[in-house]
């Protein structure tokens, strides 16, 4: 299967800056071409799908959505009737659409068919579905998060509740280029929810986490699914002057992300309550230096650009528009004296924009108790589940 070595990705650095003049589609549908942002080139945010998956022949497709539909149809074709009944739901089955969590699947059920229970052919097709909707960097994260669970399974105190096969694939509605449908892939520390509405892909809510959070080796392969994510987010705060860091410090304790899987099994986003008004705290991105704003952009890209460019380009443009950045706060909490240190349990980062909601929490390990691990959540205040729930 398409597991790529991570050693090459570890060589990535955050650094080389380049200036990009982007075309930005603003909320009101007009085109804004004057947004010039210094960006950090992180190869991890490569949005092309260079790897070749051949489980399903989708060579005739041109757009990513066509390729995703093709791969998903191919995946469904490999399933028996019973398996298909487990994997496919009505798009209106909102209860199942909200069945995801950060927790291991033993404690919290997921919608869909489990990788471990699939035939080799189905599993290969499922990999192709994931690889098609995700960018190369995103797919590497997907493989890495599952590898981390296999690592926990082999660790002392880990065991049966963990494993890289305990991940689920669910299809809501009928894969289509024109009709609305949705895809869910997830398990422990992983939740991909991609909804297509009128042919536009919306990839949130998105949860990613990993224990261990550092790179690790398993079966001769090295993985680091959240290393660049954590480093990019921490870099935003590490770059701040002490007084700005003070202003961005929340002071509260964050034992986890604020808006985790609050809608679990409820079938609606009503339980997800974003801070409003004076509850929104931190420092506005628009008030940061150009260099610091570039670091924010890089951090956001670590999540958004895990998805194929056909999905992520419009989101990046919207999240980073001048109007958006004037209403986007960065905030952190933890131990003020330690600074924004991801090795300290309780360290927490947040980016809170008009649409974007991104959090990273550093918690003590459950199995690997002497190190912290990450929980992250990326939500879109308007378009979680395609804005349909």
């Amino acid at each position: 299967m398409g597991m790529r070595r991570w050693t090459s990705m570890l060589a990535l650095t955050l650094g080389a800056c380049q200036s990009v003049e982007g075309t930005v589609n603003t909320d009101d549908g007009t085109t804004d071409t004057d947004t010039t942002v210094d960006t950090v080139d992180v190869t991890d945010t490569d949005v092309t799908d260079s790897a070749v998956f051949t489980a399903v022949d989708c060579t005739d497709t041109t757009t990513t959505l066509e390729a995703v539909v093709c791969a998903t149809e191919g995946f469904l074709a490999t399933l028996s009737d019973d398996e298909r009944a487990e994997a496919v739901y009505d798009l209106s089955d909102t209860t199942s659409r909200t069945l995801w969590s950060n927790l291991p699947t033993g404690g919290k059920a997921r919608a869909g068919l489990r990788l471990e229970d699939m035939s080799d052919a189905s599993r290969a097709a499922a990999e192709q579905v994931a690889a098609t909707v995700l960018s190369d960097a995103g797919y590497a994260d997907y493989v890495g998060v599952r590898a981390a669970d296999a690592y926990l399974a082999s660790s002392s105190g880990g065991g049966g509740g963990y494993g890289d096969g305990l991940y689920y694939v669910a299809v809501f509605g009928t894969p289509s280029v024109t009709e609305d449908w949705a895809l869910m892939i997830g398990g422990h520390h992983l939740a991909y929810n991609v909804a297509w509405v009128d042919g536009v892909g919306y990839p949130t809510p998105n949860h990613i986490g990993s224990e261990p959070k550092a790179s690790f080796t398993l079966g001769g392969e090295t993985y680091a699914p959240v290393v660049t994510e954590g480093a990019a987010f921490a870099a935003v705060f590490q770059a701040l002057d002490s007084d700005v860091l003070d202003d961005a410090f929340l002071g509260t304790v964050m034992a986890d992300v604020l808006l985790g899987p609050d809608e679990y099994g409820t079938g609606s986003t009503a339980a997800v309550q974003y801070p409003t008004g004076s509850q929104r705290q931190g420092v506005l991105v628009s008030e940061l230096s150009t260099d610091d704003q570039a670091l924010v952009q890089t951090a956001i890209g670590q999540w958004v650009q895990d998805f194929d460019g056909e999905i992520s380009d419009a989101l990046m443009a919207d999240y980073l528009s001048t109007e958006a950045l004037a209403d986007t706060y960065i905030a952190w909490t933890g131990t003020r004296s330690s600074g924004p240190d991801v090795e300290v349990a309780g360290t927490y980062f947040r980016i809170d924009g008009p649409r974007l909601w991104l959090e990273l929490a550093c918690q003590s390990g459950v199995i690997l108790r002497n190190e912290t691990h990450y929980h992250a959540i990326w939500r879109d205040k308007q378009f979680d589940y395609g804005g349909e729930l």
Partner: protein, 416 residues
């Protein structure tokens, strides 16, 4: 009282445990009072207390923690007026494998309060630990027709949702009465054993005991009077213990009550074959009614935060039982009267009483001795075929009438 070891371990070693546990707040709403039970995970509570109360000793004894927690829990009525709460209990408990502080509070509801909306606030932990959430559940609430003690989730209180609204529009005693009435009626309709006891006793109602045997009563009015006496005695008996059981003044282990109910059917079946006591049906009905009432009380276990809620539930539930019971009697007794006086009277009584003996023996074996058998569930399943049973009963009665009319005299006199 010291915290259990788990609390110390959680707090001492791991400042930020995982998964971050939530608090749980349960509401049981009455007329004069609202009961709250709050479960707070010890590790998260320690984080909050460390910042807000006592950095050196964040988790002292429950009796110190409870008033502190209470000061962070608020209930407001629809007008925003705060209800006054007092701590009624506190303890450490292991819940889902983690140490929790359990605090119970009682909020008094003054007569002028408007509980059409209840606002719930709890920032004991979330005022410091912003990621913390309190799941609010709703247990019993007689005035809202909530008689089932199993709570439902209302929502979550958190740092972003500091007050959760509990909608109680339409609450009132009539709503509670209606729900309790329906619960009582369903309880009888589904309680095959209660009905079988009553119906078996009624087998002998149209007869009179003469020298240790049953003889038909000449007077139909007397037979009806006998039926009324039996039903009334049963009602008085079970009403007394239902009330006593619901207030907790009378209780027997469930297995004992259930076994005794099976025994009551056996006794009444034997009585239907040969009178155990002259005019004894009413006594049997009343005495065993006391036991049946204890079983009814278990359906109301834990209901009613205060006396008024309890009385409402009790009255409605009992009325539901009586209504369902009278409906069954009204439907079956005419056929029973005709059958008893007809040519098949003795054979019918023997058949019916025999069936009751088999059923009650099967239940006794299951309930008292734990011997599972195919008969007990089969009898339980008969309630799904009540209509068929009633039709058969009337066909049998009609057949008896036709045969009886063909004879010159009714089979009067003492049975052989």
């Amino acid at each position: 009282m010291t915290p259990p070891l788990a609390a110390l371990l959680l707090y001492g070693g791991v400042a930020l445990g995982h998964p971050a546990l939530s608090s749980a707040l349960r509401l049981d709403v009455g007329v004069d009072a609202v009961d709250v039970e709050l479960q707070l995970p010890a590790d998260q509570l320690a984080m909050a207390r460390e910042r807000r109360a006592d950095p050196v000793d964040p988790l002292p004894g429950p009796e110190v923690l409870a008033p502190w927690v209470a000061s962070h829990v608020h209930l407001d009525d629809a007008r925003g007026t705060a209800l006054v709460g007092t701590v009624t209990g506190q303890r450490w408990a292991q819940i889902d494998g983690a140490s929790h502080l359990v605090v119970t509070l009682r909020f008094d509801v003054p007569p002028e309060a408007d509980l059409s909306t209840l606002w719930v606030e709890d920032d004991a932990i979330s005022s410091v630990v912003a990621s913390h959430k309190t799941w609010v559940t709703w247990g019993t609430d007689v005035a809202m027709g909530r008689l089932d003690a199993a709570p439902v989730v209302v929502g979550v209180v958190s740092s972003t949702v500091p007050a959760l609204r509990v909608d109680r529009v339409g609450a009132g005693p009539m709503r509670g009465l209606r729900a309790a009435f329906a619960l009582g009626a369903v309880h009888i309709a589904e309680g095959t054993d209660h009905l079988l006891f009553l119906l078996t006793l009624l087998l002998a109602a149209p007869l009179v005991a003469v020298r240790g045997h049953w003889a038909p009563r000449d007077n139909a009015r007397a037979a009806v009077g006998r039926v009324l006496a039996i039903v009334t005695a049963f009602t008085v008996g079970h009403s007394v213990t239902l009330a006593l059981g619901a207030v907790g003044a009378a209780a027997l282990p469930g297995a004992v009550v259930e076994s005794a109910i099976a025994l009551s059917i056996l006794v009444s079946a034997i009585h239907a074959l040969r009178p155990l006591r002259v005019g004894g049906e009413a006594w049997i009905a009343g005495a065993f009614g006391l036991l049946h009432g204890l079983a009814f009380a278990s359906a109301l276990a834990g209901i009613g935060v205060d006396r008024l809620s309890l009385v409402t539930a009790l009255v409605g539930f009992n009325l539901g039982i009586e209504a369902a019971q009278l409906a069954v009697v009204a439907v079956t007794v005419p056929a029973l009267l005709v059958l008893a006086r007809g040519p098949f009277g003795t054979a019918w009584r023997g058949l019916a009483a025999g069936g009751a003996i088999v059923a009650s023996t099967a239940w006794l074996a299951e309930r008292a001795l734990g011997v599972t058998n195919p008969v007990a569930p089969w009898v339980d399943g008969l309630r799904d075929h009540a209509l068929v049973a009633v039709v058969l009963l009337y066909l049998l009665a009609a057949l008896g009438s036709v045969r009886g009319a063909g004879r010159t005299t009714m089979g009067a006199g003492v049975e052989a």
